[in-house]
């Protein structure tokens, strides 16, 4: 077990290194930050000084060498806009993003898995149809639209919740629900689909034949086995969540990493883009390592090689 974890952690290194290399190349070919950070009428000498100060005048391979050297020590350089270390800009906002993403994920799991189990167990009944119809809604509406409609309805018309910002639970409600809606659908449907598969497997029938009650059969035997693909989907959705916070944080003025990321990409603030990509990749890899470990806990047939 420990050997497996260590091996996986070692394997993470090339993944993150690869991501950093690709994102470095992509950001550097996508434009010059000088154009975006200084006003368009800035004289050439001032532009040249800016480029020199931030090392943008050097050949790209030299820039990459310098970047790698510092990155190895956990230093992604200073933001071109904020005059602060890029890593600090990201870590300062990580808490807000984690809060939002965890709330959304918890909400989605708390609603999605029971809904999926009920839908599978009561297949083709009114409950199944209702669950499928509602989860459909979350999938069919772009989150930027959903967020805006939510603000207009709950903040402006009804006056129940604040329109944006971070602070109390009331501030968290709208962005978390908006972010969760797209996930609930996916989790509920995957659960339903996998439960249907499992409910017809031999061991479930055996359990039933042995006279176990319906509830333990469904909630323990079946769900435990249906959980593996559901877990895969949840693990993959961490990437979706990190992408989703980009839009949700912008619409609800949530002070998180997603908003920082999109502004950094637009401004070609290379160090910040690199730092965000690094942290997103790290979180993603860690979560999926945990998911893979959980596989083995849930299904002894999967061994560690």
């Amino acid at each position: 077990m420990l050997r497996y974890v260590l091996r996986r952690i070692v394997l993470t290194v090339p993944v993150i290194a690869g991501i950093l290399l690709i994102s470095f190349l992509l950001t550097h070919v996508s434009g010059d930050p000088t154009d975006l950070i200084l006003p368009p009428d800035t004289p050439d000498e001032a532009r040249a000084l800016f480029r020199e100060k931030h090392g943008l005048d050097r050949p790209i391979w030299v820039q990459f060498y310098v970047f790698s050297l510092h990155a190895l020590q956990g230093d992604f350089g200073n933001s071109l806009r904020f005059h602060e270390p890029a890593v600090k800009l990201v870590t300062d906002r990580l808490g807000a993003t984690t809060e939002l993403a965890m709330a959304a994920m918890a909400l989605a799991i708390a609603v999605g898995i029971p809904a999926g189990v009920v839908a599978a167990y009561r297949r083709n009944t009114a409950a199944d149809v209702a669950i499928r119809a509602v989860s459909l809604f979350g999938q069919a509406v772009p989150s930027f639209y959903l967020g805006i409609v939510a603000i207009l309805v709950f903040a402006v018309w009804l006056g129940w919740l604040p329109s944006g910002g971070r602070g109390t639970l009331a501030h968290l409600a709208l962005p978390a629900i908006t972010l969760a809606l797209g996930l609930v659908a996916l989790i509920a449907r995957t659960t339903r689909s996998c439960m249907l598969d499992v409910l017809n497997q031999d061991y479930v029938r055996t359990a039933r034949a042995k006279g176990l009650g319906e509830a333990p059969v469904v909630w323990v035997h079946a769900l435990r086995n249906a959980f593996i693909p559901v877990l895969t989907v949840i693990g993959l959705q961490v990437g979706f969540l990190l992408g989703g916070v980009v839009v949700t944080e912008t619409v609800f003025s949530w002070p998180g990493v997603g908003r920082l990321a999109v502004q950094a990409i637009y401004a070609r603030d290379f160090p910040v883009v690199q730092a965000v990509v690094f942290f997103f990749a790290l979180i993603f890899v860690i979560v999926n390592l945990i998911v893979d470990l959980l596989y083995a806990v849930l299904d002894p047939r999967i061994g560690y090689r």
Binding site: S30, G31, D32, D35, L36, I37, L38, P39, P40, D41, T42, P43, D44, E45, A46, R47, L49, F50, K53, R81, F82, H83, E84, L89, D92, R93, A96, I148, I151, L152, A155, V156, G159, P162, S163, G164, G165, R166, G167, T168, T250, V251, F252, S253, P255, G256, R259, L260, Q263, I265, Y266, A267, R268
Partner: protein
């Protein structure tokens, strides 16, 4: 929430006791973005400047009411000759850390200002300055490299910082925690969430009435910003979209402040020989101007909130505006006739680039323009660009042969017109006659002669039609009806001098 309520209440009691007037409260301002730095000379972005200049003040300022030039930390200036400026400072002003605001502070700030490595964003207006010397404690003499007619503009952008504190913490840390002479002092800053300032009780001038604290909230989405104003979460929401502006206008308890902006919307029609296209022919460029119904765009897409350009790029209150010019009339028949005359009786096909998300309504105005051009046979291949890529192409002269842009130079005819000088890095024309006029205006210190030069330049540009003259933008600020005397300016700036919260 509770904590801030308590602090408001506490502050209210304290100030009511001190002044014995109506209790002061917190003013909440929502802008698009969190400031990158609070040192005003760090960037030219209006979100940064609005917040930063509440703490750090300049020598002069341009009041948007009548665009009047008014003293702040200076009392007056005089031109000793074309390249020497004598500035007299306001006596008795101190920074909030106790340092005196005097000639030494100005000399220090001046030397930072003219160093393009430290203030690259201001290089265009700081370039003419050569050196400064202290005459006495309250007088400095600045020397210029060459005569610079927009000297007032430059003096209104030189912000004065305390040399002791600056040297102690350095440029970067200063921007994160500035000390100045302004009506407010830095208090706390939770990035991307809230920036708080408290009133400066020892302020040298008149403090805004009824306000003891300002909270700045960055709210990037246009609709959320307007929503928060409606729900009373913000007292001021900057930079509203036009549909939200209409909502604000309709609501009781809210005020809409619509400010004609310095931004001039236009369609580049490249006449550079290396950008081969039918636009090289002046008649074609004029035809396109006749083909676009600019008034219909202003009346409908902009709900009336746009300023007709009258066939020139200078705005009506600006020096050099030519009142004799009228814009190309909307006349599709005339457009078709001119196209036929130029050898395109059936129109032609052309690439039309525009940004999506760079300017207010950029995408829909571009689509409307393309629709109107199609009516006279000019079929456009529309190419939408991400804002960053759009700016790169603008500077690389790749926005050709035709592109929608909104250029917002600083408020001076030279800074506006030199964008059409052939040596300018994003000039899509090369006209020696226009170059000569621009060169002459740049050096002319006599106001009337200078105005005439620009009027001539406007007449020439009108005839050459290097652009489709579209409209001047309008910026929208929404405020609570309790906010009085808000000074919003056409460059996205607003100021707290004489503001009152009642």
């Amino acid at each position: 929430m509770i904590r801030s309520l308590r602090s408001v209440a506490l502050a209210a009691i304290v100030s009511a006791a001190a002044i014995g007037s109506a209790p002061a409260e917190t003013l909440v301002v929502a802008q698009n973005f969190d400031p990158q730095t609070l040192w005003p000379n760090g960037t030219t972005a209006s979100d940064n400047l609005n917040a930063g200049s509440a703490i750090v003040e300049a020598l002069f300022w341009v009041d948007p009411d009548g665009e009047e030039f008014k003293p702040l930390l200076a009392e007056s200036y005089e031109l000793e000759d074309n390249t020497t400026v004598l500035v007299r400072l306001r006596p008795g002003v101190r920074f909030t850390n106790g340092e005196p605001m005097d000639a030494d502070a100005v000399v220090h700030s001046f030397n930072v200002f003219i160093d393009p490595a430290k203030t690259p964003a201001y290089a265009r207006v700081s370039d003419p300055f050569q050196s400064v010397e202290k005459v006495d404690d309250l007088t400095v003499r600045m020397r210029l490299k060459y005569p610079f007619p927009p000297i007032r503009l430059a003096l209104s952008q030189l912000y004065i910082v305390p040399p002791g504190y600056w040297n102690e913490v350095g440029l970067e840390a200063y921007g994160q925690r500035p000390i100045g002479t302004g009506p407010f002092m830095f208090d706390s800053w939770a990035r991307d969430d809230r920036l708080e300032m408290v009133v400066n009780p020892d302020y040298w001038g008149t403090l805004p009435e009824g306000i003891d604290r300002i909270v700045w909230r960055p709210v990037p989405d246009d609709i959320s910003r307007a929503a928060g104003l409606t729900t009373g979460e913000y007292h001021i929401a900057a930079n509203l979209a036009v549909a939200s502006a209409l909502d604000v206008e309709r609501q009781d308890g809210l005020k809409l402040v619509a400010v004609p902006s310095y931004r001039i919307y236009q369609v580049i029609l490249s006449s550079l020989p290396e950008h081969a296209s039918p636009l090289l022919d002046k008649r074609v460029r004029q035809a396109l101007n006749h083909a676009v119904d600019k008034q219909a765009i202003i009346d409908n897409l902009l709900f009336g909130y746009g300023v007709p350009l009258r066939g020139q790029v200078l705005r009506e209150p600006q020096l050099g505006f030519n009142p004799d010019l009228e814009d190309y009339a909307y006349d599709p028949d005339r457009a078709r006739a001119l196209l036929a005359e130029a050898g395109h009786p059936d129109g032609f096909e052309i690439t039309f680039k525009f940004p999506s998300g760079r300017y207010a309504q950029d995408r829909e105005v571009s689509e409307a323009v393309a629709g109107m051009l199609a009516e006279v046979g000019v079929r456009t291949n529309m190419v939408v660009l991400e804002p960053g890529e759009f700016l790169r192409q603008l500077r690389a002269k790749e926005l050709q042969p035709m592109a929608f842009v909104g250029l917002a130079p600083q408020d001076d005819p030279d800074l506006q017109v030199s964008q059409y000088h052939s040596s300018w890095r994003y000039a899509y024309l090369n006209n020696p006659e226009l170059d000569a006029l621009i060169d002459a205006g740049k050096q002319e210190m006599d106001v009337e002669k200078r105005a005439q030069i620009y009027r001539d330049a406007m007449t020439l540009m009108y005839d050459e039609a290097p652009i489709i003259f579209l409209y001047g933008g309008v910026d929208f600020f929404g405020t609570s009806a309790r906010v009085e005397n808000s000074h919003a300016r056409g460059d996205g700036r607003f100021f707290f001098y004489d503001v009152a919260l009642r």
